[in-house]
Each structure stands twice: as structure tokens, then as C-alpha cells.
Amino acid sequence: MNSKVLGKVRQFFFPPLTTGFFIRIFLIAITAYLFFSYICLPLQIKGNSMEPTYRSRGVNFCWRLRYLFSKPKRHDVVVVRFAGTKVMLLKRVVGLEGERVEFRDGKLFVNGSPLEEPYVRHPCNWNLSPRKVDNDCVYVVGDNRSMPIENHYFGQASMERIMGGPLW
């Protein structure tokens, strides 16, 4: 009995190097490459603009199929293509196309009404005059608004640049 189990364990960790084995390895490698290059992109978070929701040095994946049949909704966290195919921004959607967005004493207003943002945990004192979100765009901001407004990179992004959403 023991030798049977040992034999199976050995076969699992040291399978016979047959043609079938190499074909399976090749197919797994190709599938993994395509999956992680085009469908589920690995991300490493750098920067603290989305704290405390997403911390710097955290790891996540960009699920490219999130907006295949729908558009980003308000409060969704999205991955925005920043440069090339490797540099992305992780931000939260606060305004949709056609809406007017503004900041008054740290509070976000959309179409003149204050927006409830339970994910913003740090104090904020931003002031930004109202601006309209263009067609086919969304307005994105990070969750960490404790830094001066000049140091936070936010604004409206074209839908073409929305790559997907974080997996968790």
C-alpha cells in the first residue's frame, strides 16, 4: 500500500517525459501567457492615492472583461491605461459623462448635490470649480485626498483608456 502511494506521488512530481506531457506543458504555458497578458493583467500598486482601499506595494489583477458588456458605474474602481501597455492608474469613478463635478471644502458635489463617499477616510480640504464631464468620459479620483490637490493626479479619462477593474 505504502509503495503504491509512494509510486503515485513520485509519478505526480516526476511524470514520465512523454510527447503527451510536453504537449500539455506547451498548451498550459500558451494559455497562461494569453490569460495573464490579455484577460487578467497582474498589477503591482505603487503610490498611495487609493489608500486605505488599496495600499502601496499591494498586488492585484486587472480584470479586462469587467466592462465588456457594460460601462463603469459611479463608485467603481477602475484601471486606466496611463502609458503604453504596462503603466496603469488605479482610480475611482465619481462622475459620469454629462455630469458637473466640483469640490467644495473637501466635499465632492455632482450636479450640485453632495456625494456620499464612505471610502474617503482621510480629511480633505480641496476646492475645485465645477466642470462638465465630456461625452464618452468618466471622472476619476483617488480615495486618498489628504494631500494637497496639486499633488493628486485626477480628472476625466476617456472610456477608451479604461482597461477594466481590479479583481478584488
Partner: protein, 166 residues
Amino acid sequence: MVKMKVLVIALLIVGVGLLAAFLFFPSEEKKVKKRFALLSEQISKEPTENPFVMANKIKGITALFGENCNFTVSDYSLSGNYTRQEISGIALRGRAHFSNLGLKCYDLKVSFPEKDFAHVNLTARLTGKSVYGEQVDETRELLCLLKKIEKKWLFSSFEVIEVLKR
């Protein structure tokens, strides 16, 4: 047997010829990409750089640009049309601000909308350390236009793509 030998030698000669053509007669796309590699090389700076090397690099940077080059940079006050001499001054002042500087260009997409014009979309990453000890690590998407003048591809326009419009 002799015919086989002749065939193998002929194939080898053709192979070597193709390799030589590939190495010594690069495509226009390769020539354009090489300009960015040269730009990266000339912009880079080591802490031990001496004035002679610095002068050579400034000369090298200037030689990559056409008589006039248009810069469109929304974040900073650098937007405008600059002559080669002005670019030389900007490069000198810019590099003097850093003790250590590196520029990496990647994800280059080259297209040729017209004869002797090249359109390049790329990602540029600038890393370094200022003379005050401040670390710099900036990545941007750029749109560049190059013109072929006297068989050389020269930069004629740089635009920093604004991804998030406040």
C-alpha cells in the same frame, strides 16, 4: 554529392547575404527607433560625468533635433516652439539639475503617414536623482513627429499625452 555541396554553399551565401542586408541596411522603422535609443543615451547622466562628456552629450542631443521643434506639455510651462539653440540651452539647464539621470523609451509604435514623416507613440520613463537628493521617477506617454532631412530622422514635435484632464 557535388551538386549537394554546391547547393549547401549557395544556401549559405544567400543566408549570409540576407543577414548582412538585415544588419547593414536597416529598415526606416529601425532607423527611427535608433534615434530614440540615441536620445536616451545622450540624456543619461552619471554622477562622475566630466564637463567634456557633458558638452559632447549636449551636442549629441541638439543634433537629434530639426531646426525647430514644437513641445506640447500641459503640466509644465515648457510648451512652445524652440530652435536648436534653445533646445541646447534647455537640455543643459535640465541636465544640470540632476546628479544622476536616465531615460528609457519603450513600447514604440512607429507609423509613416507621409513620405519622410514618422509618427511615433511611445512610453518614456525618466529616472534619476536631483542635486538636492530628490528622487525622480516619471513615466509619460508621448507622441512624436520626426522628419527625414538629408537622410537623417530628426525630431520636429513632442507631445505629452494628457490622460486625466482635470
